[in-house]
């Protein structure tokens, strides 16, 4: 089994304890934060393990790259402190089980776009932006062979990730991708941050979806017409695993003439979609999630956003209808980029 590379000494010498003091869900000062994170590292119970919203943000807050969230998720499992009720864990663990036969493996020997477990969203990877790229995992019946498994961090079940992820990597590697463009932040985070933190070998080069989109837009610069839209970006929790790629959001918006509205919950201070919170065991979780979603959407509205841009399909599912009800159009980043090069995404008015 793969062990998390976590160094408690880094926490001992940390001056900010930002992992917990910056947390938007836990109220704690620096001194207490250090105590709690060290308790967790020693395998002791901590209130943090019970109250963690599993938003991944501490992975970004920790400037040492010490993986506090991976630690929390591991210890939740070891100590039997699951953030969500038992049936939800069983359900989630079942979701990732492939059940419709083996995938069809074709060697590609070129750049590959992995849609992961979102095959039903393949309409989001069409048009000029994706010319020359071979998508994999386009068959809904086989998509769980390409599921990066990182979702189980929300359920305090790191063991499932460690058990299944090497097999997923093996399946992808059989396609012989020269580069693997990851449709979802979470896959990119899995094959970079998570694998690195656990010493899991990744025999291909993962590319962040936004980095790919940005570079492709630069190639197609002559076709770009400013979209002239005021946009709010719904930053997904998995983006916290690759904070170095978050800058491509702003670069893409600048390139396509989208005005990123000034809002409170943005970048490091972004609020998660709360989809993971509403199912938690902690009393009042449903209401807490609803209130957070309301604050988030109000913030977009007050900032004058016309469009809410998503990357994560789960965020889209959780918040898309709500932002639409508030007069803000939900759109996936790839569709926004297609709009900028004169293509009309389905349903765009």
């Amino acid at each position: 089994m793969y062990d998390l590379i976590f160094d408690p000494d880094l926490c001992l010498h940390c001056r900010t304890q930002a992992c917990l003091t910056k947390c938007q869900y836990i109220d704690i000062d620096g001194e207490a934060a250090q105590k709690e994170i060290l308790k967790i590292a020693r395998g002791e119970d901590s209130f943090v393990l019970h109250e963690c919203a599993t938003c991944y943000a501490c992975e970004e807050y920790c400037t040492f790259g010490n993986h506090p969230f991976y630690l929390i998720a591991e210890k939740q499992e070891v100590l039997g402190i699951s953030p969500v009720p038992r049936p939800l864990i069983r359900r989630a663990v079942n979701i990732g089980i492939p059940f419709r036969g083996q995938p069809e493996i074709k060697e590609i020997n070129g750049p590959v776009l992995n849609i992961g477990a979102f095959s039903e969203l393949k309409h989001l990877i069409q048009g000029k932006l994706f010319e020359g790229i071979t998508p994999i995992s386009t068959d809904e019946r086989k998509m769980f062979h390409y599921f990066c498994q990182l979702m189980y961090l929300h359920y305090g079940r790191a063991s499932v990730i460690k058990e299944r992820l090497p097999g997923i990597i093996e399946t992808i590697a059989k396609h012989k991708p020269m580069e693997l463009i990851c449709f979802h932040d979470e896959c990119y985070g899995a094959y970079t941050s998570y694998c690195e933190a656990h010493g899991i070998d990744v025999p291909f080069k993962p590319i962040h979806f936004y980095e790919y989109l940005y570079n492709r837009l630069v190639e197609l610069k002559g076709m770009i017409r400013p979209v002239s839209l005021k946009v709010a970006y719904q930053r997904p929790c998995s983006s916290r695993l690759s904070p170095d790629k978050h800058l491509f959001v702003g670069r893409i918006f600048d390139l396509i003439g989208a005005e990123s509205v000034k809002r409170e919950f943005v970048d490091e201070n972004a609020l998660c979609c709360a989809g993971a919170i509403e199912g938690q065991k902690l009393e009042g979780s449903r209401k807490r999630a609803a209130k957070q979603q309301q604050r988030n959407v109000e913030d977009m509205k007050n900032a004058g956003a016309q469009v809410c841009v998503f990357n994560c399909p789960a965020c889209f599912q959780t918040l898309g209808e709500m932002v639409a009800r508030n007069g803000i159009k939900p759109v996936h980043m790839s569709d926004l980029c297609r709009l900028a090069i004169g293509e009309t995404p389905a349903g765009w008015r």
Partner: protein, 452 residues
Amino acid sequence: MDPIYQSLAAIVDTEHVSNRPEELYIYSFDLGTAEPHQPDYVVSPVTTEQIQEIVRLANRENIPVVPLGGGMSLAGLAVPLKGGILLDLKRMDRIIEVNEKARYAVLECGVSQGQLTSYLERHYPHLTHSEPGAPPAATIVGNVVIHGQGDLAQPYGFNSDMVNGLEVVLPTGEACRFGSCALGARWFTNHPLPDVGLFLGWCGATGIITKLSIRLLPAKRIRGVGRFVVDDEELVPEIMYKLTHTQMAEDIIAFSSAIPPFASMLQHFTVNIAADSEKELEMKQEIIWDDTLGEYIKKGDGAYLGFTRNLERPQISKTSDYKKGGGFEYVGSIMPIEKYPECYRKGREISERYNIPYTVTGRCIGAAHSMMFAWTYAFNRADPETINGARSALHETDRLVLELGGVIWKPGAYGQKLVLERLDPNTRELMKKIKGILDPKGIMNPGNWEIP
């Protein structure tokens, strides 16, 4: 030229009667496992008077008559077991009246679920009807005849409890009306005249319903589905009971299935909630998820899976994808809700025995007064072995329903036989007398509810 064919053509017209083998073939089977039986004629009338004439002709000639609505029962109830005239009623599809204030609609027998739904959405968006999980082509009358239930079964019960009046062509050709319409009044109630109750549940063996008044119900502006999951089937009855006590839900369904894996060995609930405002919606959500089911969440025994706006009809038909060839049939039963755990466990055992991924569903009827529990079995239409396997599983399940103290819902020929064997002798004798009086020549949908 065949004289029966000529007589039928004289009643309707040559365009709407056929005895051509390729057309008879289409009417020889339904989508379930029932053996095919070909009719001798197919005729598609458009008025009650035409039906009367056809039935009189059938009486004179001693020919069976089988009425067909959408043909979606899956139990072979409109398969012409003894040949004869198949009456395809789909052309009688007029929505005759919608009474907005008294909340009812008068319909002809061919009006489909989808037709009424779209008509109400367009013209009366604040009214709805209790729509079953059947495909939109299923007819309203067909569903009422089999004592169907829909997505308002929790507050309002069976769809056949929502009948305000009937027009029926008797097996001897007379047209009768029942309910307030029998007095020439509006079709607003089925009460309080002496109860005749001779036509529902009989599968057309006592007459052909040509018109129906069905209750319409308030349609709230926001309708959506909340989801909840437990991993202990023993909790399902008490959760259903508690949910019905809140009187906040429109529909409560529990289900479990081997495929897709997320549903395997877990019990999922879908709870339909409706509201006219965000305030009302949140009040109902709070009562259901926080106040009523919060204890299960806190203990870690149950989990809230979120609420999505707009209704999703139950999609049991997806089980037809489990085996190549796209076939499925289910045994439905009306059961006390306390039987859910046993129904689930025994259903899994039967499915495993026949190598069919299990699918079970329980829909709450009324304030937990009963549930419609269904066991679904997939088969490959092109593979006789899987059809036989599914048929055996269905028959075993029919027997299970009665062993568990339930009642088989819309039983096919095999299930009817089991029911009649166990039926109270005096009740059976009364049914026989009624059938004999109404249908002295035994021409109406023979093979169904025949009492020797």
